[in-house]
Amino acid sequence: MKAVNKPISKIDGMGLVTGKPVYTDDLAPKDALIVKILRSPHAFAKMKDIDVSRALKVPGVECVLTWKDIPRIPFTRSGASFPEPASYDSYILDEYVRYVGDSVAIVAAVDEETAEKAMKMIKVDYEVFEPVIDFEKAIDHPSVIHPDHKNYKPNAIIHPNFDRNVACEYEYDWSKGDKGIDEIFAECDVVIENTTYNQAQEHAMMETHRSYTYKDMHGRLVIVSSTQVPFHVRRTVARSLGMTPDQVRVIKPRIGGGFGAKQNLQAEFYPAAVTMRTGKPAKMIFSRVENTICGTTRHRMRIDTKIGAMKDGTIRAIDMEVLSDQGAYGEHSKTTLAPAGYKTIPLYNKADAYRFHGYTAYTNLPTAGAFRGFGVTQGIFATESIVNKLAHELDMDPAVIREKNMLKEGETSVGFNLSTVFDDLSELQTAESCGLEQAVKRGKELIGWDEKFPKKEVSSSKVRGVGMALSMQGSGIPNIDSASATIRFQENGFFTLLLGATDIGTGSDTILKQIAADAIGISEDRIRVFSSDTDLTPFDVGAYASSTTYVTGNAVINAGKLAREELFKQAARLLETDVDSLEFDGDKFTDKKSGEVLDLEHMGTKLTYGKFQHQIEVTGSYVPYKAASPYMACFVEVEVDTETGIVEVPNMVGVVDCGTPINPKLAKVQTEGGLIQGLGLALIEKISYDSRGRMTTDSLMEYKIPSRDDIKTNLVVEFTDTYEPTGPYGAKSIGEIVLNPTPPAIQDAIYNATGIWLTDLPMTPEKVLKALKEKKNK
């Protein structure tokens, strides 16, 4: 094996770091109309009247569109596979506005100033309703957020109840044998409860949402967009505008970060509507404020967890009750709610019972959408938090309670079936690879667990503590995700790898090239990659659910194998011999019988021109059938300043089982980035709204993400030595898992240092000080 597991550099790297014009706004035509959105000042209102006549008269204004000009076709912006597990509960523009910032009207003008001037001239008469701001009071609130749902297409499998503000309800209840979970709790030596809250985290990707559109010479709509899901954009925009997918082409250039934000469709509809109306190119660039208040957030969740165990630390039952804040539209309700349970409980596979019940509630806040971790982050905070709490209750080492209860390689877990074949428990799935034992052992060594646990006083006001947590995720969604890859053999012996997969900065174009090289049996230098154009590249669901390495990687292997077969066939034809007598060393074929040699350069040229012409082009596809979960253990050491409440994280260790890291360098940086995003979630990132639902943290000034100054952490990342038999060359995913474990690990480190137990993220200095004070007064 040559290319896989090599730390090669990203193929687009030098272009990116030298500032080449490769992102959406760099490529937009100069004469594109500037599209702006008039946005709602109210969290919940209905437009009694909207008058755009004065706006239309502003010189330079090309069109102004309101809900009356847009087809009344409900759809979802979720950007998930078809059929989406989400209700079709939104329109491009509606007569209702459901959060501060919701779209009221589309204005297109020759430049930004003109568009802004025109926006001020639109007169809207609102009937304002009492908004639903507190998600804990949302269900059965007197204000019904989607009263007019007769045209909606509710998705039955998610059980929405619009009249109760319920976007989704989901539950399962499993126990071994005849006893129910409550009986098992009754048999436990200890039963403890814990409630965790997380904030609605912002993605804060550096490139905000943006798209531009134009009509090609055939009158088709071309959308160039900073998206994670070009194929879902094609289908969704077509539906929303009453078109068919063949009338739309979507191109994704380089994109400046996504983290899930760009799975949900945001900017595409508006310029598309303008281009269809005017025939002219149009572009929409979200400002940072728009990006913050009108993009999506992580779902805020309250999770009440209950765990039952025996005195020796054996975990017997886990029960989770979840309430998730969906915001205005139900784009990712079940898809984030269910994973909070089914991608966490498999970690503790020896329990006798699990119960999970949850609601996702509509509120008049920005929509919660896909965000790296996707419900699992919240679920891991809940489960890892309560397992740590259990360890304290039993006076056990948190690492030891893990070692006793956690999933090990070769074992089954009911949770896998709940997430992959949905309640079919007839044949339990096995963790064919699981590096948790290694990860915990190595993580303990790297952090110095045995010396440091639980705490050390550094000075009269500074105390250090250590904490740990486990994490898991999936690798794509079994039986739902799908991917394909095309390989073409070209003149002079180079190959083109065509990918529908969407590199969002993760380096997937690079690692898929590495996989292709090994599958064909050639050097990766021979391959050129072209990705993410719905007219030219084969279908791929896009970059979400940690799917690209595993799902697209397997599709690439399938394509590579086919390409190799075809190469052998054509070489045999050209050398006038049979396939079995050929030897291939990656550069040339040798006929063992005659000793004749044909190199790829000559072969490519021969197959391109003249009488031997034969285009080798093959496509491989893949649909995953099992979760192939990656696992990790995270260890942190915090230093709490008991005078200021400031928590620093001098040491952090992540030991990850992603199977074979296809590119160890890129996997390491992705892990580091994820752990630090998790640190932001745990300690820094704070979102607030006023009582009327207006976000008060709508810029990078108010919504702070970790900055260079915040990260003085000695961060050590290692990979376990594991191999996933169903993965491409043993690989599993890495994208999301690495964000999940930081909050519970830091929470417990703070507890070990100070004895305070913080359950509401972020754990800011104010909360630390308050808790320290309460503890003292007790």
Binding site: P7, S9, K10, D12, G13, M14, L16, V17, T18, G19, K20, P21, Y23, D25, D26, H203, A204, M205, M206, E207, T208, R254, I255, G256, G257, G258, F259, S287, R288, V289, I504, G505, T506, G507, N663, K665, L666, K668, V669, Q670, E672, G673, G674, L675, I676, Q677, L679, S699, L700, M701, I705, P706, S707, R708, D709, I711, K712, T713, L715
Partner: protein
């Protein structure tokens, strides 16, 4: 109004509005390596050099730059490639959107500080946000570039 700007060594006469910031003027005139990520001067994506010092072009009025030496990443391609190669070598060119601004700040730092410590680097670059890498790998790359132990 028309102003004269010296951009990457050549004099240009450009049409600008009095309240326009450099970032817009530069992008409109094809200097697309200059990125924009916020409206509040917090992200550092728009960093260019003015008289060899890193400056946030989103907070710098175009008219103020008359008579000054403006350098964008297009004007220092060889140096950007040198600095950038360390980032790429370390794998911290993820989405890359923060990279041009970061590279320009590093070029400015190289001119100002000869043997920076780790803290000097962190302080100098503190205004350059990155949401992908978590900074630790970028620090490794920059330390190698600057020969910091």
């Amino acid at each position: 109004m028309q102003i004269k700007l010296n951009i990457n060594g050549s004099d240009k006469t450009l049409d600008v509005k009095p309240h326009e910031f450099l970032v817009e003027v530069l992008r409109e005139n094809g200097y697309l390596g200059v990125k924009k990520g916020c409206e509040t001067g917090n992200c550092g994506l728009c960093t260019i050099l003015i008289d060899d010092k890193p400056v946030l072009s989103c907070s710098y009025l175009a008219v103020r730059a008359e008579g000054k030496k403006i350098t964008t990443i297009e004007g220092v391609q060889a140096e950007a490639a040198e600095v950038g190669s360390f980032l790429v070598e370390e794998g911290v060119d993820q989405c890359g959107y923060c990279s041009p601004g970061l590279v320009m700040t590093i070029i400015g730092m190289k001119k100002e500080i000869e043997n920076p410590t780790e803290d000097d680097i962190r302080n100098y670059l503190t205004n350059n946000l990155c949401r992908c890498t978590g900074y630790v790998g970028q620090l490794r790359a920059i330390k190698k570039l600057m020969g910091v132990e």
